[in-house]
């Protein structure tokens, strides 16, 4: 059994997106309940959130965006940049706690205190861009973690695998010209889904050409297509890039029962995907996997999906 961490904090529930919003505190409660009911909590190292130092956020986001976000939150604005990004008075603090928790978790994996970790955070991050919020995201938790690994831990090659059903435009754009961070995303085709980016011909720019890979899948696709792609493409990509750490943007919204998309991934399909990622990390990255929650909105399925995800990390 692996030493797996579980980042979870009740303060993540304080980011209130208003009635009927899919990115709700209930998602995190469902995830926690699922892990509890599967009798996994005792096997995990629970990590509490901590406030991120602004200097880490500044490695990815513009200083004036951070200030603008904080000011808007303090003034009681109900949204930031897009109506999808509903805010409350606690949103800025919660976003800082999400980043801080992820960095703490990443640090523990680097020291070897943990083999891997699942970070059940809110708000999610992969749509957040350098200078604006988007798609329920405010700070790009995964991007900041990647920069932290590079700067604090001297990691030369970071692999990011994003299987949230929406393209992680923020993460891609942040690392588009960086050859040392590989961004690999499988998502619903941009013509048919938010945010409308992530086409197959987007493969990076300048020095970063070749270290972005996008796999749009069509409405109605599911296990067969995802597992086929992982077999034919992710494995060779990881083999060639040989990341020292793998960060996973773990979104569960490609599930057949999740309303956010037309993709039909099954519960078993999710398990198979994560098994492949963990197996690759075992070979190339010293087993180091930092998994960070992105989307996933079907409250009925989240408990089982989260429990299975953690079981794969634990290797039980």
């Amino acid at each position: 059994m692996k030493k797996t961490g579980f980042l979870y904090d009740e303060r993540y529930l304080l980011h209130d997106t208003g009635p009927g919003h899919p990115e709700s505190p209930e998602r995190l409660k469902a995830i926690y309940q699922g892990i509890l009911d599967a009798d996994l909590l005792s096997k995990l190292t629970i990590i509490q959130a901590s406030r991120a130092d602004l200097k880490w956020i500044e490695t990815v986001h513009a200083k004036n965006y951070i200030e603008r976000f904080e000011a808007a939150c303090r003034s009681g604005d109900s949204m930031l940049d897009y109506p999808d990004n509903q805010m409350c008075a606690e949103t800025f603090e919660t976003a800082l706690l999400a980043v801080g928790g992820v960095l703490d978790a990443a640090g523990r994996v680097m020291t070897g205190k943990l083999d891997n970790v699942f970070c059940a955070v809110r708000p999610p991050g992969h749509h957040a861009e350098y200078d604006h919020a988007m798609g329920f995201c405010y700070f790009n938790n995964v991007a900041i973690a990647a920069r932290y690994l590079q700067i604090e831990w001297g990691i030369q090659r970071v692999g990011i695998v994003d299987f949230d059903v929406h393209h992680g435009n923020g993460t891609q754009h942040i690392f588009e010209e960086d050859p040392d961070v590989f961004y690999y995303s499988i998502h619903q085709h941009p013509t048919f889904a938010f945010p409308g980016t992530g086409r197959a011909f987007e493969t990076g720019n300048g020095k970063g050409t070749g270290s972005t890979r996008n796999y749009p899948v069509l409405p109605g696709d599911g296990d067969k297509e995802y597992l086929g792609l992982i077999q034919r493409d992710l494995i060779p990509v990881i083999e060639a890039f040989s990341p020292e750490v793998i960060i996973v943007s773990a979104g569960f919204d490609a599930h057949a029962d999740d309303d956010m998309s037309d993709i039909k991934l099954s519960t078993q399909g999710y398990t198979r995907i994560m098994e492949r990622v963990v197996a690759l990390a075992e070979v190339y990255s010293n087993g180091r996997v930092i998994s960070v929650l992105e989307g996933g909105y079907c409250l009925k399925r989240l408990p089982e999906l989260a429990a299975n995800h953690v079981k794969v990390l634990l290797c039980v």
Binding site: D84, T191, P195, G196
Partner: protein, 216 residues
């Protein structure tokens, strides 16, 4: 809508007495395929395209082996010898739709834009139109595209717009197009949100058919 708003100004042109290599250089430097030919008063007298040049020159992989003579002889040609005289043009007060139909009908890639006495003031190409299309469709804004099949009768759009407004969603763009079933149209709203689930349920409840994306 008007060509004047969409055309490229500051056109790269060439003189009728210039030689072929000068045209080649300009085209490869700017990645153009069309060079309007103007006189000293900037009046349009012809157009030369990369196809005109390529049909003149021998294939480059033969050039070294075979024909220094052919190369030399082709360099004797001037733009005036190979250009198309009196090219088809368009006016700045014509519209994007005029350009679309004209370019499509004539199999051209670009149209010089002229005013009185054939004075050249711009050029509009297929690339400019692609850019406008991308802008109009809002392809570069984050959003979700839907396809709703509606009966061709009054009041349908209002129901759709009402449903969308009730969910507090903004429009990026909306396209209404013909549908192969008689008496029906396809409406494609591009909505600036990720949260499309509740709207789809509402539209279905009100009686609309949402077309499966694989059937668009």
């Amino acid at each position: 809508m008007f060509i004047s708003k969409v055309m490229t100004k500051n056109v790269v042109t060439i003189d009728k007495d210039a030689d072929i290599s000068q045209a080649q250089e300009k085209m490869s430097k700017h990645l153009f395929r069309h060079l309007p030919v103007v006189d000293q008063n900037n009046r349009l007298i012809g157009i030369v395209t990369d196809r005109d040049i390529r049909s003149l020159l021998p294939p480059s992989h033969f050039a070294q082996e075979n024909s220094p003579e052919e190369w030399k002889s082709s360099s004797k040609f001037r733009i005036k010898d190979i250009m198309t005289k009196n090219p088809v043009t368009i006016s700045p007060l014509d519209t994007i739709q005029d350009a679309l139909i004209l370019l499509h009908k004539k199999y051209f890639g670009a149209l010089p834009v002229v005013v009185e006495e054939q004075k050249l003031i711009g050029i509009i190409s297929v690339r400019d139109l692609l850019r406008e299309f991308i802008n109009v469709l809002g392809l570069e804004e984050p959003g979700t595209l839907l396809c709703i099949i509606v009966e061709n009768k009054i009041g349908q759009m209002k129901k759709i717009v009402d449903a969308i407004s009730e969910e507090n969603i903004s429009f990026g763009s909306i396209l209404v197009s013909r549908y192969w079933e008689k008496g029906k149209r396809a409406v494609f709203p591009y909505l600036l949100t990720q949260n499309i689930g509740p709207l789809k349920i509402k539209l279905k409840r009100v009686g609309f058919t949402l077309l499966d994306p694989m059937d668009w």
